[in-house]
Each structure stands twice: as structure tokens, then as C-alpha cells.
């Protein structure tokens, strides 16, 4: 049932796209803000992590980050497939993306719980990863709900704003995480 969008529907779609873009631009500033907070707090210490605090192990979070990047690829691949009438590819891609996203959240939950308490170093770590995890979880659940709807055939190549919207929100989760990953683990 591939029908053309009416003028009003096109307008609504354009509004949603612009609106979501502005929202992403806006909300990423909270993550930028927390990045600044992290930088300013660490500026008061002679070394970071502070003396006596062991550095975080890079292996698991890097694995999680790689998985998250891969999930972004699969989410996008799914959206493109849906637009090209390849429903099966769309569903498999999102299945993989959901699995990878779940892996990311699980690993980061373990990291959150296992970081040893060391006042500023661990609290800012927990606030940042926790804040990000809330977004990953909420948007991940949205992704799962849309996937569930897609399985029962709610979306088609023309009408799939929910798919497009959650895809873009998941991109947001990934971009926000890249910012945090660099700040928390690399520099």
C-alpha cells in the first residue's frame, strides 16, 4: 500500500524532521555541559585520575563503544532497507542493532557498578555514564517498541516516521557517547 504523501503530511514530516534536528542540537548541549564540568574539576587536580586512584581498564568500554558504533550502522542500514522495500533486511538489521545496544548497556552497567569510589573521579564518572545510560535505555526501549510494531507491519516505504525518528535518536545516543568516551577514557 504505497501511497503518496498528501501536502499536509509532507508538511508534518518536514516539521518533525526540523523539530527533531533542533532537539538533538539542543539536548547535546547537556552532554557538552557535563564535559565542561569534567574538564573544570580535573583542572583542580595535579593528575587525573588523582593520585592513588587506579586508571580505568580500557578493554570492556572500548568493546562496548565498538558495538555501539556498529549498532548505529545497522540501525541506519535498516532504515535505508525499509525505504527500498526490503522489509526482511530492515528487520534483521534492527535485530542485530538491538542486540548490540543491549550489550552496550550491559557492559556500561557493569562499569558503573564496578568503578571504585574515589570522590570526584568516580562521582563525575558515574554521573556522566549514568546520564548517558538513561538516554541509551529510554531510546533503546523506543527502538524495541518500533521494532515490535514493524514486525506486525505498521510501517512501509513511505510512512515510517517512527522508524526514522528512533534511528536519528539512536544516532544521538552514539554521538553523545563518543563525546563521553573520549573525555572519560582517552584524554
Amino acid at each position: 500500500m504505497d501511497t503518496q504523501l498528501s501536502r499536509q503530511e509532507r508538511m508534518a514530516l518536514a516539521n518533525r524532521r526540523t523539530g527533531l534536528f533542533i532537539f538533538q542540537l539542543s539536548w547535546i548541549m547537556v552532554f557538552v555541559c557535563l564535559t565542561f564540568v569534567n574538564l573544570q574539576i580535573r583542572g583542580n587536580f595535579a593528575s587525573w585520575p588523582p593520585e592513588g586512584v587506579t586508571s580505568l581498564n580500557l578493554f570492556l568500554p572500548t568493546l562496548a563503544t565498538a558495538g555501539l558504533l556498529l549498532s548505529a550502522f545497522f540501525v541506519g542500514r535498516g532504515l535505508r532497507a525499509l525505504r527500498n522495500h526490503q522489509r526482511a533486511v530492515f528487520l534483521t538489521s534492527w535485530q542485530i542493532a538491538l542486540g548490540l545496544g543491549f550489550g552496550f548497556v550491559a557492559i556500561m552497567a557493569y562499569e558503573w557498578l564496578s568503578v571504585p569510589f574515589s570522590e570526584q573521579y568516580s562521582t563525575i564518572f558515574r554521573v556522566m555514564t549514568g546520564f548517558h545510560a538513561v538516554h541509551a535505555l529510554v531510546i533503546g526501549i523506543m527502538l524495541a517498541l518500533v521494532y515490535h510494531g514493524a514486525r506486525s507491519g505498521e510501517y512501509n516505504a513511505t510512512r515510517h516516521w517512527a522508524v526514522e525518528g528512533t534511528t536519528k535518536l539512536w544516532y544521538f545516543v552514539v554521538v553523545a557517547w563518543m563525546l563521553f568516551y573520549v573525555i572519560l577514557y582517552i584524554v
Binding site: M11, A14, N15, T18, G19, I22, F23, L25, S26, W27, I28, M29, V30, V32, C33, L34, F36, V37, Q40, I41, N44, F45, P50, E119, Q120, T123, I124, V127, F131
Partner: protein, 569 residues
Amino acid sequence: MATISRPLPGAAIPAAKQLRLSDYLRWSVDHKIIGVQYMATAFFFFLFGGALAMMIRWELLTPTLDVMSDGTAYNQLFTMHASIMIFMWIIPMMAGFGNYLVPLMLGAKDMAFPWLNALAFWLIVPAGALMILGYFAGQAEAGWTAYPPLSTIYSLGDGQTFWAFALHLLGISSILGAINFIVTIKNMRPEGMGYFQMPLFCWAILATSIIIVLATPFLAGALTLLILDRVAGTAFFDPSRGGDVLVWQNVFWFYSHPAVYIMVLPGFGILSEVLSVHARKPVFGYRALALSSMAIALLGFTVWAHHMFTSMTPELRIPFMVTSMIIAVPTGIKIFSWLGTLWGGKIHFTPAMLFALGFLSMFVIGGISGVMLAAVPFDIHVHDTYFVVSHLHFVLFGGSVFAIYAGMYHWWPKVTGRMLNANLGKLHFALTYVGFFFTFFPQHIVGMLGMPRRVAVYAPEFQTLNIIISVAAFLLGISTFVLLYAMALSLSNGKRAGANPWRALTLEWATTSPPPTHNFHGDPVPYRDPYGYGTESAFRYLEDVDRRYGVGERDDDKVPVPALRGSGD
């Protein structure tokens, strides 16, 4: 010159559904109802915050504590006065104007996201409730800036936490509203209206919205950390545990300095509309006015640390001093463009125009004291004195509130369909202007003499000036009742306004007052230049609007009659 023809008012226009009070008390997605909801709620908080201001001035009549039981009670008083006036009055009031006017000015049926729009308004209600409930939990007492450690270890009551949650809600409301404005302005302009044919009010709302979406998330970040420090045992602002109070100051001002432009830019937009319409002249320098709003929005992000001259690294003071002074350039462009608009105009001294002129004169004083404060040596001398209080009230009251009053008198007929009594309006203006000036101008002097802000007990030598200030403040308080009386009078038996009582060219006037549910009767066609007053074709366009939507009851010496200016006059 053509004479005014008076066709049957509203001939051939079906009567709009009469709105009842209950329509304004429940969830609605009509941007006009939401706009009125915003404005009425904000006005309620204006009266509330004004009552608190009266108590502050009552306390300061004498140099000792007499009205307040102790210093804490006084701290709560000015904290709530400022928080309510900034976050519950000026910002929502401007959002109310934007909500009501932007879709109308663009010839749209509604905002881009009507449901989100309603949500943004209804977030204000619980926020206001939280703020007021703080009184039952040990009200916030750290000032509206909530600097730690005042807002953390020295604020024992839960009111400070309530305050932070309330601001969180208001921030989210602001962001949702701003997204809506940007999308509406970007996507929903009518055919033939490019960005540079938009009314300047829309430009101002666009610039404001850009600031809101980029700056308000910083407030969310700061408040989250504050709440965590207060309830979850973290120590981001506690130096004894490795935290840093400057984190709050930086992040808070990174939001709150741009926020002062959130509060005044819509006022600039109102001023451009009012001055042009009531001077019957095109705005001078349309592009300069439009783009200077954008320049202020962008520059506003580079000046936050000028609030921290006394607490920051000294090497950083000069750069922030320079950027702060540069802000005066786009603002100056606006002031001179407005003067150019007035120059040679046929000025009608309507209440709206009087308040706009009041804005021009008072805002300039606030702007000049702002440049003085931007100078580091001077700022260090008057930091945290009444000079700062004076400056901020000159820009917030002399600026934003005067603009709001101008806008109220200008658009009241559109919103209600009835005129406000012009004589009462003039009385309101006179009392407000005099009361305002003598409340806040002497504060420059007490500030420079060294009276600190935020104290209930002061040195006895400041008493004379403080009595003058308080008496003038009471006059200012009384002036509000004139407005309330005029509003009640207008609603009960004001003169019918007709569609376009000021004979304005922007689209909100090309429909009945109040506009019907979807705003226009058919697709509205904007006049090619929203400020093209004084031309033959504008005259014919206005005649056509009158013929189509009807004229109001007229009283020729109070309401400006149409005038042709320029070559053909």
C-alpha cells in the same frame, strides 16, 4: 485624501465561536488559547512577585530588621522575588506573546507542534506549585543565582531542592517552546514571505529561541549537579572534598547570561512593531534590526564570565570585558534604528507608544550602566552593590516589562476584541514611569556609595535614599492596579476594537478580533512589506482589511485615524 468608508462591521464573516473562561482552564492545543494561558499565568506571578517586592521595600524603609523575623526570612523574600519575576513572569510572558502572535503573523493556522505547545505550557503549572510549596518546606534562600555553598550546605530547607526541580521543569518547557517556534518560523511562512519579509517580532522570537535551545541545557546540567549535591551526597561544589564552586558559577552563567537576552530580545521585537505602527512609518533599517538580534544571540554566548570578575582568574577578565562591551554595538544599532523609525513620523501618543518610548529612554540608561559594569575596575568597585540591582532593573523592568506593557496595549484589542481605555492607559504609564524612575535611579547612587545588595540591615546613612526608593516603589506597585482596573473595564464594557484598530500591516490584524479557531478566513495574503506605511498601496490594503473584517467603535481623538504620509500627503 480618501475619506474613511464605514461598511457594516464584520459583514459576510461568520461569527467566531465565543470562548468562555472554562476554555482557558483546560488543556487546549489552540495556540491562541495557550498564548493567553501563558500570559494570564505569568501575570498572576507578576502580581505575586510584585507583592514580594513591596515587602522588600517595606523592610528597607528602616536600617534595622523590622518586618522580617530574621535574615533568613529576608533572604527567602528576595530569592523568591527574583526567581518568580525572571522564570515565572518575564520568560513565560514573552513565550505567551510568541505563542499568540507568531502563527498569526506568519498566516499559519497554528504552531508546528500544537500538542507539544500545550505540554510546554502545562509544565509551568507544577513548576509554579513547587516554587510556592517551598514555603512549607523551608523556602529557597540562596538568591536566584543559587551560588554554592549558599545553595548547598547553607540551605537546610528542602525549598532549595524544590526550587531546583521547578527550574528544571521550566527549562524543559522553554526548550520545547523554542523548538516549536524555530520549526514554525522556518517551515510555516506563507508563500511569498521570505525571512526578510517576516515581521521583526518573529525575528526576535527566532533569535530568542536559538538562545534557549543552546543555553538552557546548561541550566539543566547545573541543576542536576546541584540536586545531586543536595540529595545524593556528591560533592561537585564542595572544595573540602575536591569539588569547585566555580563549576556552578561557570555553568550557571553560561545559561543565565544568554537568558538575559531571552528576556529582552522579544521585547525588542515588540518595540519594532509598536514604534512603526504608532509612528505610521516604515522601520528604519529592517535588516539591521533583524540581524542585530541574531548578533546579540551569538555574542551573548561569549560574555558569561563578566558576572565573575571578582572570582575568576584575573588574566581572563580583559577578554570578557571586551566581548561584553562589544554587545553594546548591536544593541546600539537597534536603539538608533528605532530613533530613525520615529524621526519624522506621525507619532500617535497611544499608551502602547508611550510605553515604547518609555522603554527607549529607560533601556538606554540600563545599557549604559551595563557598559560601566563591563569595565573591570568599576565592576570590582560596585560588585554586589545596589548599582547592580539598579542596572538589572533598568534592563528588566525599564526594558522587558515596559515592552510587555507596550505589547499588552498594542495587542489587547486583537486578543479580546475590545479596546483598553486610552486615558487610563496614559495614567498607568505616567505612574509607572515616575514610580519606576525614582525607585531604581537612586539605587545607582546608594550602590556607588557602597550599600550591598541582598541585606536587610544597612548603614543608617543610606536611610534617606532608601525611603525615597521605597515610596517610589509603592507608587510603582499602585500603578499596576490602574492596569488591572482598565483590563476589567475593557472586558466588561470596552469599546469594540474591530479587526485592525491601529491600522497595522502585519498579518495578525487581517482577521477578526479575536481571530477564529484556525485564525483566518481563507488563505491570508501578506502585504508585501510589513512596515510599508505611508504609501498609496498600503492605504488601499488597509481599506480592504477594514471593508472585509469590519471596523470598531471609534472615538476619533483617542484612536489614531489613518493617515497618509510621504509624497502623497
